[in-house]
C-alpha cells in the first residue's frame, strides 16, 4: 500500500515535470473554428474585377494603368463577440498579394461564439517596425521592408502606363511614425446577422477594396509616377485607399 502511494507520487511528479517542458499549451475549445477574410478587388466606380496585367483607365485622372504588382499588409485582426469582448488573433500579420492570389486570409482557431464586428489594421503597427528581425509575413525576404530607412513598405503598387513619362509607375507607401504614419485601424460591423463559429461551418467575411482609390486625391501619373519614401503623399494615397475598403457581406 505504501509503495502504491509512492508510485502515485512519482507519477504525479513526473507528469508535472514533463508537462512543464512544453513551451506553451494551446487551449482549443471544441467549437472553435477558422474564419476566412476574403478581400475582393475591384476597379473604379464601375467596380469591374481588378486583376494584374490588365489595362484599366482611371476614372479621375484618365491615366491608362496596367498593374504588375499590388501587395499590402493587413495586420492585428480582432473579432468582437456579441457579449462585447474581443478575440485578438495572436501574431496576426498578412500580405495581401494579387500576384499570388493571396487575397483570402485565414484566421485560425477563433473560439466558438457569435461575432458582430471585425477590426483590421491596414499596414503594420509601429511596434513591429522597430522590433528587429521578424518572421513570416514580416520577414524582410518578402521585399516589403525598407533596409536603408527601417520600416515596412505597407503597400506596393507598380506597373506600366503610357501616361507616365518613364513608361511605368512605382508606389511604395509606408512610414509608421508621426503625423504621416500610414497604418490605419478600421472596424467593420456585420449588420443584423452575426458571424457564427461553432466548428461546423465555413464562416467568411467579405471586404471589397478598390485600388483606383489610391489616386482619389493624388496627382496624375504625368505629374508623379513614383513615390518610395514616407511623407504626406504616401499618407494621402494610402488613406484614400484604406478608407475606401468596405464591408460587403458575411456568410456562415
Amino acid at each position: 500500500m505504501k509503495y502504491f502511494n509512492f508510485i502515485i507520487v512519482l507519477i504525479i511528479f513526473s507528469v508535472l515535470g514533463l508537462s512543464s517542458c512544453k513551451k506553451e499549451e494551446t487551449v482549443t475549445t471544441k467549437t472553435s473554428g477558422d474564419v476566412g477574410l476574403d478581400i475582393e478587388h475591384v476597379w473604379g466606380s464601375a467596380e469591374e474585377e481588378f486583376i494584374l496585367n490588365k489595362e484599366y483607365t482611371h476614372p479621375l485622372t484618365n491615366d491608362k494603368m496596367t498593374f504588375t504588382i499590388f501587395r499590402y499588409y493587413v495586420s492585428n485582426l480582432r473579432l468582437k463577440s456579441t457579449d462585447g469582448t474581443w478575440f485578438t488573433q495572436p501574431d496576426s500579420y498578412y500580405i495581401v498579394d494579387l500576384g499570388t492570389d493571396e487575397t483570402f486570409l485565414s484566421i485560425p482557431e477563433v473560439p466558438g461564439g457569435e461575432y458582430t464586428d471585425i477590426e483590421v489594421t491596414f499596414g503594420v503597427d509601429s511596434l513591429h517596425n522597430v522590433s528587429g528581425a521578424q518572421t513570416g509575413a514580416l520577414a524582410p525576404s518578402n521585399s516589403m521592408f525598407w533596409s536603408w530607412n527601417s520600416g515596412y513598405i505597407m503597400l506596393k503598387a507598380e506597373g506600366i502606363s503610357p501616361n507616365s513619362l518613364t513608361g511605368n509607375f512605382i508606389f511604395h507607401l509606408g512610414g509608421f511614425m508621426g503625423e504621416n504614419k500610414v497604418q490605419t485601424t478600421k472596424t467593420y460591423n456585420f449588420g443584423t446577422t452575426p458571424l457564427v463559429i461553432d466548428g461546423n461551418r465555413e464562416a467568411e467575411i467579405h471586404l471589397v477594396a478598390n485600388p483606383a482609390k489610391l489616386w482619389h486625391s493624388a496627382d496624375n501619373l504625368a505629374t508623379k509616377s513614383s513615390m518610395t519614401i514616407p511623407g504626406v503623399i504616401a499618407k494621402t494615397m494610402s488613406s484614400t485607399f484604406y478608407n475606401g475598403i468596405k464591408f460587403d457581406h458575411i456568410h456562415n
Binding site: F13, S14, V130, A133, P140, N149, S150, G151, G178, P230
Partner: protein, 342 residues
Amino acid sequence: MSTSIKQGLGLLFMIVILGSCQDIQDEASFDLSYPAYFPEPHYQFGKNKLTKDGFELGKSLFYDPIVSRDSTISCSSCHFQGHAFADHNSTLSTGIDGLKGVRNSPAMFNLAWNTSFMWDGGINHIEVMPVAPITNHVEMDETMAKLVAKLRSNAKYNAYFKQVFGNNTEVDDQQILFVLAQFMSLLVSDNSRYDQFRKGLVEFDEEENAGYLIFKKYCTQCHAEPLFTDFSFRNNGLEFKNDDFGRQKVPLLDDDFMKFKVPSLRNVEMTYPYMHDGRFRTLKMVLDHYSTSLVPHENLDPSLKNAGQIGIPLSENDKEKLLVFLKTLNDYTFISNPLFGE
C-alpha cells in the same frame, strides 16, 4: 522505505526530468561583458538567445562571401578587424562588380550601445542592420530570399543553423539576422589606454592629460565619454558635397540638413579617412576643420560657436596635445582579439 527517502527520490526524479528541458549550462555563461563605467547596452537581445554557437555562426557569415550575389564580397571586405572593422582605409568602399558607394564604412565596435545605425541613423535596430548591405546593389546585391535558399541548400550552414536553433527549424531571415546581431553585439572595445586609465591601471602622462582636458572642454558635448559619442545627430560644419543631405532625407525635416551621427572616437587613429565621406585623410585635418574651416550652416551645432566666434579655438599646441590624447583611444587588444578574427 521512510517517507523522507521517498520524497527525496521523487524530488530527484523530478529534477532529472526538469533538467532535461534545460539547455546546456555553459552556453548561458557566454555573455556580453563590459566595464562598470559603461552604461547599460541599448540592445538587450530579447528573443535572440545569445550562445557561443550563435556567435560563432554569426562570425562565419560575417567572413563568408557566400552572403553576396556572386560570392565575391563579405562583410569583412569593407569592415576589417585591423582597422577596428572600418574599411581598409579607402575613402568610399568598393562593393560588388567594383562599384563604389557614397559613404565611408564606419568602424564596428560597441554596437550594442548604438541607438541607430548608419551615418544618417536610418536603421533603427541592430537585427535589421545587415539587410541594408546584403541587398544594396553596390554592396552585396543579394536578396534575403535567395540568401535563405542558398544557406538552406548549403550542407555546412544547414547543419550549423540547426545546431544553434534546433533540428526542427529551417534557416530563415530571422535566424540569419539573429546570429549576425550576436556577432556584432559582442564586438566590445574596452581596453584602450584610456580604459586602463579609467580602471586605475595606468596614469596619463602630462601631454595626455593636457589633451584630455582640452577634449573635455570642446569635444565631449558630442563625443561623450566613455563611448565617445552621445549617438545624436549634429551638423558639424562640413562643406556640402555630393548631394549628401545626411539625416535630412530620413524624417524629411529641413532642420536635419547635413546632420550626421556623431561617430565614436575610440580607435579613431586606425579608422582613417574621416567623416561620412572620408574627406579628411588625417586627424590633423579634422582638427584644422574644427578650428578654422567650419561652414556656418544655419543649423550648425551651437556648441561649435564659442563667444560669438564660429569654430573651436585651438592653438597648434592644443592640437598636438589633442592628437596625443586621441591615441589613448586605440584598443590594440580589440583589433587583434582572435575571438573576433577570421
